[in-house]
């Protein structure tokens, strides 16, 4: 019959409310009596984070504290959410550098493309996720802030050398 509706009927004769409730009570009682402590006391105890966790950005620096960034513009190009603002300029030695480098961590999706694409291994994601700010403006990390951060860099996965970046 075209257009017919198949009605799935739960067999009432076998539906047992008392049994179901008793069974449910049994399960909850079991957990009540031996509470399985799945809770982690978060601020006191912390996770063992994977070295490949993609978190807050960090900018690598040379020994003299200058950012390694050469302002090539690949990270704003590859960024899928346009969260990187870069204005390159020429420094006193005639080298290209990032006069303005800002990452909007609020907009960032932590895909890690910027780290992957960086030709000088300057911008990195980091193994760090505890960010909280009182204003949206504070989420825009400038170059100074990115270089001052000191959490570990995120390790990129390399099929030929899984241990290192």
């Amino acid at each position: 019959m075209p257009g017919s509706v198949k009605i799935v009927v739960r067999p009432e004769s076998s539906a047992s409310y008392v049994r179901a409730i008793t069974k449910g009570l049994g399960i909850t009682l079991k957990h009540l009596l031996e509470p399985n402590k799945a809770t982690q006391q978060y601020p006191d105890e912390k996770w063992d984070l994977s070295p490949r966790l993609r978190g807050t950005h960090r900018m690598a620096t040379h020994e003299d504290g200058r950012a390694k960034c050469v302002g090539c513009g690949l990270c704003p190009t590859v960024c899928p959410v346009n969260c990187i603002k870069l204005i390159p300029a020429e420094d006193e030695n005639g080298e290209r550098y990032a006069a303005v480098y800002e990452i909007d961590e609020f907009r960032c999706i932590f895909c890690g493309f910027c780290q992957e694409v960086c030709p000088v291994e300057a911008i990195h994601l980091g193994v760090h996720y505890e960010n909280a700010e009182y204003s949206r403006e504070r989420w825009i990390y400038d170059l100074e802030r990115l270089t001052e951060l000191d959490h570990p860099f995120t390790a990129l996965w390399d099929p030929f050398d899984p241990a290192s970046e």
């Binding site: 019959m1 017919s4 509706v5 198949k6 009605i7 799935v8 009927v9 739960r10 067999p11 009432e12 004769s13 539906a15 047992s16 409310y17 008392v18 049994r19 409730i21 449910g24 009570l25 399960i27 909850t28 009682l29 957990h31 009540l32 509470p35 399985n36 402590k37 799945a38 809770t39």
Partner: protein, 426 residues
């Protein structure tokens, strides 16, 4: 020893009011902590554990938060009723404790002090009267908030309360039939095992009145408005139900009211069906004061404390049971809730009352005295009825599943929708 009279009675009553009111509120506050711990454990969590040792100061923190939070009053709200509703949510639950006998009478220098705030002659009629006031808080909150969610919550709340009020009242009728008195201390005494004085049944009423106890338990749970009967709140569909628009201490009063209700209901079940403050298998606590002032048994202070412990333990076990139930069972569907109240409990209670009356008549005719044989006969009768009821429930004949209506309707549309036989499904 004579019961207290005069000034001593007034002072004693005032003291009892103060002590037990404070005690009740402390228990209410602690039960919120208790519930969160129970919920935590059932869900494999820790529950509150950051404020104070074991999180015990969480109660204080919550209270502080309630007081310090901003009060929001929705535009278009009826100010008077909006303010009155939380008061009406909390007050009936606490006032119910006035007629609760907590312990055996205590001897004092000025006479025997009955451990009940007010031994009113109307007894549990007072309980029914005050308990039914609880619905006003919900209805008022729902109506005064000027919010559709609150309004729907209030509507549901009133319908539910009215429905289960009937079952609740009817489930107390068998108790009245056995005891022959509405006074609460008498009900407790009737469940004890006395050799002298008015007849006592020697068994807690949850045995000879098993079915009634079951109905009272469920109806009482419905009266507290807790899962699985929290349709007035129903955060899944009504945001917060009747208290959606409430904030700060006004919400806090609803919150306290819910737990006060919980404890009160547990205490009522204890008094009516679990022997009140009676300690099982011990005759030393068989103390009663007759209407003419005669005291049977030997009241002492340590017995008072012991019996109060018994009462508290029974009540807390019931509270725990309610909490356990809450974190296990999902919410009733609205039609199922109404079906259960009107189509199941009320007819069952009507039939039960008649059967019980018949049984009592037959037992009296047979000349069996009130006592353990009488109770035994009733227990057997109740067991049979209980098994029949559970068998019926268990087969889905009383509370129908969601598909039963569809099937009924499908069959009605002249075969246009052919239901598939159960064997073909799965």
């Amino acid at each position: 020893m004579d019961p207290m009279t005069g000034t001593a009675f007034v002072i004693a009553t005032t003291l009892k009011i103060l002590v037990f009111f404070v005690l009740l509120l402390v228990f209410v506050a602690l039960s919120t902590y208790f519930e969160r711990k129970v919920a935590g454990f059932i869900q494999d969590r820790s529950g509150p554990n950051r404020v104070g040792p074991l999180g015990l100061l969480q109660v204080m923190a919550d209270g502080l938060k309630f007081i310090l939070k901003e009060e929001v009053e929705p535009g278009g709200a009826n100010k008077k009723f909006f303010f009155l509703a939380p008061v009406l949510g909390l007050v009936p639950a606490t006032v119910l404790f006035a007629v609760m006998p907590f312990a055996s009478p205590a001897p004092t220098r000025w006479g025997l002090m009955e451990m009940i705030v007010a031994d009113v002659p109307v007894g549990f009629l007072y309980v029914l009267a005050i308990a039914s006031l609880g619905v006003y808080g919900i209805v008022m909150a729902g109506w005064a908030s000027n919010s559709k969610y609150s309004f729907l919550g209030g509507l549901r709340g009133s319908a539910q309360m009215v429905s289960y009020e009937v079952a609740l009242g009817m489930s107390l009728v068998p108790v009245l039939m056995l005891v022959g008195n509405v006074q609460m201390p008498e009900i407790v005494s009737a469940q004890q095992n006395f050799a002298t004085g008015p007849a006592a049944y020697g068994a807690w009423f949850f045995l000879p009145l098993m079915l009634t106890a079951f109905v009272f338990l469920v109806a009482g749970l419905a009266e507290t408005g807790r899962v699985p009967f929290d349709l007035a709140e129903a955060e899944g569909e009504l945001v917060g139900g009747f208290h959606t628009e409430y904030s700060s201490m006004k919400f806090g009063m609803f919150f306290l009211g819910e737990y006060a209700h919980l404890i009160t209901t547990a205490a009522l079940i204890t008094v009516f069906f679990l022997g009140g403050w009676d300690i099982p298998f011990w005759q030393g606590d068989n103390i009663r004061v007759l209407a003419d002032g005669t005291v049977i048994g030997e009241p002492t202070w340590w017995k008072t404390l012991l019996t109060f412990g018994s009462f508290a333990v029974k009540t807390l076990i019931l509270v725990l049971f309610f909490m356990w139930l809450r974190w296990t069972i999902p919410r009733f569907r609205y039609d199922q809730l109404m079906d259960l109240g009107w189509k199941v409990f009320i007819p069952i209670m009507m039939v039960y009352i008649m059967i019980l009356g018949l049984a009592m008549y037959l037992l009296d005719e047979a000349g069996i005295p009130v006592g353990w044989q009488y109770s035994g006969a009733l227990i057997v009768l109740n067991l049979i009825m209980m098994v029949t009821l559970i068998w019926g429930l268990d087969r889905g004949m009383i509370v129908k599943g969601a598909t039963s209506r569809t099937r009924r309707r499908a069959g009605g549309i002249r075969g246009r929708m052919t239901p598939t036989a159960p064997s073909e499904v799965d």
